[in-house]
């Protein structure tokens, strides 16, 4: 997961937005109650807190978000706001396909 995804912000967010997101998250995950999560959030914040850091991240990060292409689908589903059901005809077709197995 990118630091942006972890903090729940867009990749073009500015310093102020990033800091607000960080502060909100550490209220939910303070170090005494969720130490591991707190560390993750803090590390993410440190890596993009100002423009220079963001550019460095852009240039030099080597993180792999997933281990195989299919996992990108799971990652996108689990982390972001997009979960749109198929249209009714498509769902009917899917259900019928399962019935014929």
């Amino acid at each position: 997961m990118t630091p942006y995804e972890l903090l729940g912000i867009a990749s073009h967010a500015d310093d102020k937005t990033i800091r607000s997101a960080y502060l909100e998250l550490i209220k939910t995950y303070p170090p005494d109650r969720a130490p591991e999560r707190f560390k993750e959030i803090s590390a993410a914040y440190e890596s993009i807190k100002d423009e220079k850091k963001r550019l460095e991240y852009y240039l030099f990060n080597k993180d792999v978000p997933v281990n195989r292409p299919l996992e990108a689908l799971s990652l996108q589903t689990q982390r972001t706001g997009r979960r749109k059901p198929p249209d009714f005809d498509t769902l009917k077709e899917l259900l019928r396909q399962c019935m014929t197995k």
């Binding site: 990749s11 550019l55 990060n61 689908l73 009917k92 259900l95």
Partner: protein
């Protein structure tokens, strides 16, 4: 089977039944149990001729088995025939479970509903009717009304409609409505699995993942609904789903239910290619079939882009290289994605290859690669000076990395910093300068350039740059400190004081700044006193005291030692009363008189005091010296001596002998571990003190043979004073001492020993290589006799550490 043969077989069976009905019955039941229904049917038919009442149930079971098999295999007309046979045998012509199954297979849902309704009308319990869950599934996926069911069994009909409408609500994103409808379905209803499915789907689209996993996880694998639940469970990373065993159709369904129908035809193949190790094929498949790929967006295209381009760094180098070469080879037409692809490829190449650069030619290629990256970036996104500055800074840092100098024989034992040379000082300087040109606010670039000038001993450039940096970053502690230290080095004390005092104000807890200030005050004060500027000198010593400490052996900041210096210089300026007063204060501040007096005596000599003053001090020292020697004093005296010898004076040699003798004389007194360790550490630093080291080590090991610290010091001393290269025996000895340290829980010592052991192992590995592969020796090697091997050893160590050959 041919008719003749079949007749023959029938004849045989008849013979069997005539003689052994028990045998035939056993055979029939065995065939039935093992699912060989046709054979079993033949046997039971034969048996029925003898006793129909007894064997008819068996025969019916065979027919039912055959019918089920045929329905499964899609042999529906044959199945119908079998069902008719059953009805003929039982005399019951009503439609039953098999008819339902045949109708389901034929997708004749009206018949399904009719038969089911009839069965319910006969008073049969809905759950007791075989296949009722399949009936429920068939009726739901028909997605239409069944008036017959409606009029005959309203409750079941209501539940059927609830399930169908709830599914429609889900697709229309009316999740609460969907759940309200599904709640009408009873717990024991034939539609209960549908209720679970709807619950799971509603939870999924409302981001209630835990609920989704619970609901869909309860669908067992023998219901067809399990097939629609799988993609949802897989998307949420459920442990019940084996991600590696997902088939193509499941992957396709995952794409659809996740809201990405456009990648249904792309993802399964891309994933299976990657899984099979065909990385570049997987990339090309995505690139050629997925819109807007590659992309830096936050959606799935962006994730896949990061995946495909960053995976390069996690593959073995040769594979990564092949992957890059293969994905570079493409004929994609010009487009925004093509430009971005070029950029990402270029970045990947730069990051991958820069680790492999080993000589000047590679360095230039590496720099050229990043330069090309910046050109592409400008074409794709326009100018970005801050980005360019960072890239140049990255290059500058790379080229400014220190490469270790040729290791000395015992570098593996050294505790000091191994300060080597810069990887490429010209390129380092060039790129730091370019970084600054691109962004004048890039402080790190300035500091990098400063470091390059320092490492190349270019003092004038250092000073000029520092003077430039102060107005640019007036409140930067690091810059102020560096500028201050530089000023002190060139004796520009007022300026240095300004910078260092400001740094100290900005960071009052930094001990390094305090140390630098101490140096400055002492040097500046001495300079003032030497010029007869007593008032100024006194003011500086007052400042030194404000910056001072009461620590007993801090010869720069310790208040006692500041007063001692002050006293000497007051006397030099013929202010005897002031001198006496300062000396009195010095004595007050110290808990160790002899070291203080000795320090004062040596400092006086260093400050070129008049001979009679030195003599007077010498007598005071002698008086204290004559008292019984103690190890605590011995250590303090050695520390004083060690401090003063930094100034480098020939007359100190005779002092060394006296101090060593004092320490030897004190060796029979009780001594703490700390004192002994301090004395032995001094012995390690000076070959002349070897005997002193030996004496104290022997003393401490006599008291505690297994003390790991003194075992370690003993061995270090022995090696330091040996003429042999270390060998495997030494490695074993260090392992033994490490074991002692671990037993005594001496964490710091253990860590230090492990480092030494590792360095020694690496050195021995190289030596073994040079000696032709096998272990070299059990002991040391005479240096003088084997200089050629030693030279080869150094070369090999260099090559292993990736150092450059330097032209001298």
């Amino acid at each position: 089977m041919s008719k003749e043969k079949s007749k023959g077989m029938d004849g045989f069976t008849q013979q069997k039944s005539f003689f052994f009905p028990e045998i035939l019955e056993k055979e029939a039941r065995d065939n039935l149990a093992s699912g060989k229904f046709r054979q079993a049917k033949d046997d039971f038919k034969e048996l029925c001729k003898h006793d129909k009442e007894k064997y008819l149930p068996g025969l019916l079971e065979c027919y039912q088995g055959m019918a089920n098999q045929m329905i499964q295999n899609g042999q529906l007309s044959d199945a119908v025939q079998i069902v008719d046979n059953i009805k003929a045998l039982t005399g019951d012509r009503s439609e039953g479970a098999l008819d339902i199954l045949i109708s389901i297979k034929k997708k004749d849902y009206d018949s399904v509903a009719r038969i089911y309704t009839n069965l319910l009308s006969q008073g049969k319990d809905s759950a007791a009717i075989p296949g009722s869950s399949l009936v429920a599934d068939a009726l739901v996926v028909a997605f239409r009304e069944f008036p017959l069911l409606k009029s005959a069994h309203h409750e079941i009909y209501e539940e059927l409609c609830a399930a169908q409408q709830a599914l429609e609500d889900i697709c229309a994103e009316r999740y609460d409505d969907a759940w309200l409808k599904a709640k009408k379905i009873g717990v024991h209803s034939i539609f209960s699995n549908w209720k679970l499915l709807i619950k799971g789907l509603v939870a999924f689209y409302k981001y209630e993942d835990q609920k989704t996993l619970e609901a869909l996880g309860r669908l067992s694998s023998d219901t067809p609904l399990h097939g629609i639940a799988q993609p949802y469970l897989a998307l949420l990373g459920s442990k019940t789903v084996d991600q590696k065993a997902l088939n193509e159709s499941c992957v396709q369904r995952m794409c659809v239910v996740a809201g990405y129908p456009d990648i249904v035809s792309v993802m399964p193949k891309a994933d299976s290619l990657w899984h099979a190790g065909r990385y570049s094929d997987s990339y090309r498949h995505i690139r050629n079939n997925m819109k807007s790929f590659p992309s830096e967006s936050a959606d799935i295209t962006g994730i896949l882009t990061r995946f495909y381009f960053n995976s390069i760094y996690h593959l073995p180098f040769t594979e990564a290289l092949r992957y890059l070469e293969q994905i570079r080879d493409n004929d994609m037409p010009a487009s925004p994605e093509r430009g971005l692809e070029e950029l990402l490829l270029c970045r990947a190449e730069c990051l991958l290859f820069e680790k492999e650069c080993t000589d000047e030619g590679d360095d230039k290629d590496c720099a050229g690669g990043w330069q090309h990256f910046l050109e592409i970036y400008t074409n794709v996104f326009g100018d970005n000076n801050k980005l360019a500055s960072l890239v140049y800074f990255h290059l500058g840092s790379m080229f400014a990395a220190e490469t270790p100098r040729e290791p000395d024989l015992f570098s593996w034992m050294s505790t000091g910093e191994d300060r080597g040379r810069l990887r490429n000082e010209n390129l380092a300087g060039r790129y730091f300068s370019k970084s600054i040109d691109a962004d004048k606010d890039n402080k790190d670039a300035y500091l990098g350039l400063l470091k390059v000038y320092e490492k190349t001993n270019n003092r004038s450039k250092v000073n000029k740059l520092l003077d430039k940096l102060i107005p640019l970053f007036p409140d930067d502690v690091a810059i102020l400190t560096q500028a201050g230290v530089s000023c002190v080095d060139r004796k520009s004390y007022n300026k240095g004081m300004k910078y260092l005092e400001k740094a100290a104000r900005l960071d009052p807890l930094d001990s390094f700044i305090k140390e630098r200030l101490a140096h400055l005050y002492l040097a500046a004060a001495r300079a003032c006193f030497d010029k007869g500027q007593v008032k100024e000198g006194r003011a500086l010593y007052e400042k030194a005291l404000t910056n001072g400490t009461l620590k007993p052996r801090d010869f720069n900041r310790g208040c006692a030692y500041i007063y001692a210096r002050w006293a000497v210089l007051e006397f030099k300026n013929k202010n005897e009363d002031a001198a006496d007063e300062k000396l009195r204060l010095a004595r007050e501040k110290t808990g160790e008189l002899l070291p203080l007096l000795y320090f004062t005596y040596l400092i006086s000599r260093q400050y070129d005091m008049p001979a009679d003053y030195i003599r007077k001090l010498g007598k005071e020292v002698e008086q204290e010296w004559r008292l019984p020697p103690t190890p605590v004093n011995a250590l303090a005296l050695l520390m004083v001596y060690d401090y003063i010898r930094m100034f480098g004076a020939d007359w100190l040699k005779s002092e060394m002998k006296m101090v060593l003798q004092y320490a030897l004389d004190a060796s029979d007194k009780p001594c703490s571990g700390e004192e002994a360790a301090g004395i032995i550490s001094f012995a390690l630093s000076d070959k002349q003190a070897q005997k002193l080291g030996d004496v104290y080590i022997k003393k401490m090991l006599l008291a505690d043979r297994d003390d790991p610290l003194f075992n370690s010091l003993a061995y270090q001393l022995k090696l330091k004073n040996s003429n042999c290269l270390p060998g495997r025996r030494d490695l074993d000895e260090f392992q033994r001492i490490l074991h002692l340290a671990e037993k005594r829980n001496n964490v710091e010592l253990a860590r230090d020993l492990r480092k030494k052991i590792k360095a020694l192992e690496e050195m021995l590995e190289v030596r073994d290589m040079l000696s032709g592969g096998g272990p070299f020796d059990g002991g040391g090697m005479d240096m003088d006799a084997n200089m050629e091997v030693l030279e080869k050893l150094f070369e090999e160590i260099h090559r292993k550490e990736g150092g450059q050959r330097r032209k001298r």
